[in-house]
């Protein structure tokens, strides 16, 4: 069978299965909400079984579709797709820079401008992100914000955190986008310079790998020593007992009770 036909069959099957899965998810959520809204102390084994009995045909259909997909994949396997390459622009820029000792002035100036632009943008976005973290920090340090019903306090704090986190992520994302464009521009400048031989090549020299390895070794040694010291200290100050005491009882909140 031609590859295009196979892909089409798999796509149609995939779409049908996606719809079934999403419908099953919605049915499960709706059943749960129905049970919850059905009255005081709504959850009983019987009510749960009854509600899920109603949606069981959809669940069985979805399971049958999944099994069908396995059979389809065996009978009409999809050809392996070639992995796409995603090159890291920063890495490419570092490699280009490593070849070049110094660019000629007509290329050096725009390249430095791009670097300056990126650095300023990163500093500004870092400062903005830090400033955005101040209010949530102050909020958490103020105990008055956590007096009252736990759920209400947690939800309020969560909304605050999420709002600020969203803004921080937005700022970071925007900064990354602009920096990526700037890096692409700088790569173009370097490529042009290299093509026109408007640079002085860097002398090939031994890379300083041993320093990097030593640094990692030292950090590892520190981390593992501190870890063992902490574990021993924790055993003596009752930390291990605390872990056991919690784990030996069912965490009612963790399983959704209370």
């Amino acid at each position: 069978m031609a590859n295009e036909k196979r892909k089409r069959i798999h796509l149609i099957y995939g779409c049908i299965l996606s719809v079934l899965l999403i419908l099953m998810g919605i049915a499960l959520i709706t059943s749960c909400l129905d049970i919850y809204n059905s009255g005081d102390k709504p959850y009983t084994p019987e009510s749960v079984v009854n509600h899920f009995h109603k949606i069981s045909p959809l669940i069985y259909l979805t399971i049958a579709a999944i099994v069908g997909g396995i059979i389809l994949n065996l009978a009409i396997p999809l050809p392996q797709s070639r992995p796409k390459a995603i090159r890291d622009n920063y890495e490419a820029l570092i490699r280009l820079r490593s070849k070049v000792d110094a660019l000629n002035p007509e290329y050096d100036l725009p390249a430095k401008q791009e670097q300056k632009k990126r650095r300023s943008l990163q500093i500004i976005s870092a400062v903005v992100c830090v400033l955005l973290c101040i209010h949530p920090l102050v909020y958490f340090c103020n105990q008055q914000n956590f007096v009252g019903t736990v759920t209400d306090c947690v939800v309020k704090a969560m909304i605050l955190c999420l709002s600020y986190a969203f803004v921080v992520l937005l700022v970071t994302f925007a900064c990354k986008l602009v920096c990526q464009k700037s890096v692409s521009k700088e790569i173009e400048i370097y490529k042009k310079a290299i093509a026109e031989k408007a640079y002085s090549p860097a002398a090939p020299g031994p890379k300083n790998i041993s320093n990097e390895k030593m640094r990692i070794f030292v950090i590892r040694a520190i981390v593992v020593s501190v870890a063992f010291v902490f574990i021993v200290l924790g055993i003596f100050n009752g930390g291990a007992e605390a872990v056991l005491s919690k784990a030996n009882a069912i965490c009612m909140e963790c399983i959704g009770m209370g």
Binding site: C32, P83, D88, A92, A242, C251
Partner: protein, 513 residues
């Protein structure tokens, strides 16, 4: 002719089996999931494992309220330890997390986490997939927000109020619902816990469905965007002993590794890398290999570039023939691992015994007679060293069993029970019984600091092996509340939280005859 056809079919069948056999990584994942949940008899008995093995933590996310859980969950243990951080610094759990981070980093996510395995299997369902992009890369930082807020800040904030609040476990963790709630509630012995389900369960079930459906369409949906444990381990990825590494001298920046990877990595081995090794086999210059002892995992050092189209688990990648010493060591390691798993299964399921399930203590029965020690607190109205239920005969008695690490118990004692004293005063007795297992907590000190001193409650400690609690049918879930009439007969019993209204209705009936 027939022989040729038969042998062709056999070879194609053999080829099919060879193409679809579980990879070494999958086997390791299954092994780790089984070892983390070795207490399989828990599903049948309805008990969670309550033994000394829970001093240790599993490396991955595995709720310790799952009946099969053989050890503690590191994330739950961290939140719980932070709750006590106003008294003691949580050295133990921080040390364990640092040790796991140093040894494995996010190799745990790729090989040792049971919930990661579930997501991997869900992602195999053949639907159109949502590929990673710049947006998912940015969104992957959200798990650090959850780590900072729910795992660290919330428990610390409430530690000041001495209120146990494992924020992530309570509001987000899907492992608790999938492995804990479903595992426990599917057993008929735990059906009385159904009445404790409410808005929290509904919210978490909703999230669980979203995570499960999401994992079908988006690779490792929970791990990439929500898992704080992965966020924590990711910080150790660069220095971890096991994981994948890149030899920069061989790397040509072709980008095939990043393109093949389903996680939001920027380069191999960064904080998003779960060391699944998918990139190892697509690298045309063999620049990527596994860190750690070469004797355990094939570094894929074939000396010849592999085709980029191969989709072989790098643990299985054909390489140069292994030296005899390596084969022997691997055999020893494999035998040891199976011995450990076999030993764990035997210990948890045959040697370790659950407490005996007592069917007494039901409504209509006389309350068992147990003499308990009274705590010396600021509000001890009962001037005796010990008390038993018969000491309060002639009065309606409310007995509440609680546990200091149980948030629901604490909320109930702070919010519902004081209303009983306000309404009934001396007409009823309230005995509040803490588990005999205190694990270093100073219960009287906690009571004096956090509960009203003029409540009139009698605070006691259960006797050895929590006999009173067990005799009333208690398992490992707190709280339990019972109400006795003036003759000591149990008239009301509830496992899980109760409310002032529910207790008041029963008490009013008893007082009015």
């Amino acid at each position: 002719m027939k022989n040729t056809e038969t042998s062709q079919k056999k070879s194609s069948l053999g080829q099919w089996i060879s193409n679809h056999r579980p990879t070494k990584r999958r086997i390791i994942q299954l092994y780790a999931a089984l070892l983390a949940n070795a207490n399989l008899k828990g599903f049948k008995s309805g008990w969670i494992y309550m033994g000394n093995a829970k001093y240790a933590c599993t490396p991955g996310l595995n709720c310790y309220s799952c009946p099969a859980a053989s050890a503690s969950c590191p994330l739950g243990a961290l939140q719980n330890a932070l709750r006590d951080s106003n008294k003691t610094i949580p050295f133990y759990i921080i040390g364990i997390l640092m040790l796991y981070g140093f040894l494995f980093g996010r190799f745990i996510c790729g090989f040792l986490c049971p919930f990661g395995l579930i997501q991997d299997l869900l992602h195999k369902i053949k639907t159109p997939k949502i590929k990673k992009n710049r947006l998912t890369r940015t969104a992957s930082y959200f798990k650090y927000v959850l780590l900072a807020y729910l795992v660290i800040s919330l428990p610390l904030t409430y530690a000041v109020q001495n209120y146990p609040l494992p924020g992530f476990c309570k509001y987000i963790c899907p492992s608790g619902i999938l492995l804990g709630a479903v595992g426990l509630l599917s057993n008929e012995f735990n059906h009385d816990l159904f009445r404790s389900l409410g808005p929290l369960f509904t919210w978490k079930f909703l999230l669980l469905v979203i995570f499960i459906v999401g994992a079908v369409f988006i690779y490792r949906f929970f791990c990439r965007f929500f898992c704080p444990l992965g966020a924590l381990y990711g910080l150790f990825n660069k220095i971890s002993w096991l994981g994948v590494k890149m030899d920069n001298s061989k790397c040509t920046n072709c980008g095939l590794c990043v393109g093949t990877c389903d996680m939001d990595i920027r380069h191999v081995g960064d904080h998003e890398c779960i060391s699944c090794g998918k990139c190892v086999n697509v690298c045309p210059t063999n620049a990527i290999s596994y860190k750690g002892p070469k004797i355990l995992l094939a570094p894929n050092e074939t000396g010849t570039p592999l085709k980029a189209k191969q989709n072989i688990d790098p643990c299985d990648a054909p390489g140069t023939p292994l030296p005899k010493k390596t084969k022997i060591v691997r055999l020893i390691v494999a035998i040891t691992m199976f011995a450990v798993l076999g030993g764990a299964l035997v210990y948890y399921n045959f040697i370790h015994k659950d407490p005996e399930r007592v069917t007494g203590g039901e409504v209509g029965n006389i309350c068992p007679e147990i003499e308990m020690t009274v705590y010396d607190t600021n509000n001890a109205p009962y001037h005796g060293n010990t008390i038993s239920p018969s000491d309060t005969r002639g009065k309606v008695t409310v007995i509440n069993f609680w546990y200091i690490y149980c948030g629901g118990c604490v909320t109930e004692l702070q919010e519902e029970f004081p209303l009983l004293h306000d309404k009934y005063g001396d007409r009823i007795e309230v005995i509040v019984v803490h588990s005999n297992q205190e694990f270093g907590s100073n219960i009287p000190e906690w009571i004096n600091a956090n509960l009203s001193t003029d409540s009139g409650f009698i605070f006691t400690r259960d006797i050895e092996n929590e006999k009173f609690f067990r005799d009333l049918g208690g398992t490992s879930a707190w709280p339990i509340t019972i109400i006795l009439d003036e003759f000591g007969v149990i008239q009301y019993k509830v496992k899980g939280n109760t409310t002032f209204d529910a207790m008041s209705e029963v008490i009013d009936n008893l007082l009015n005859g």
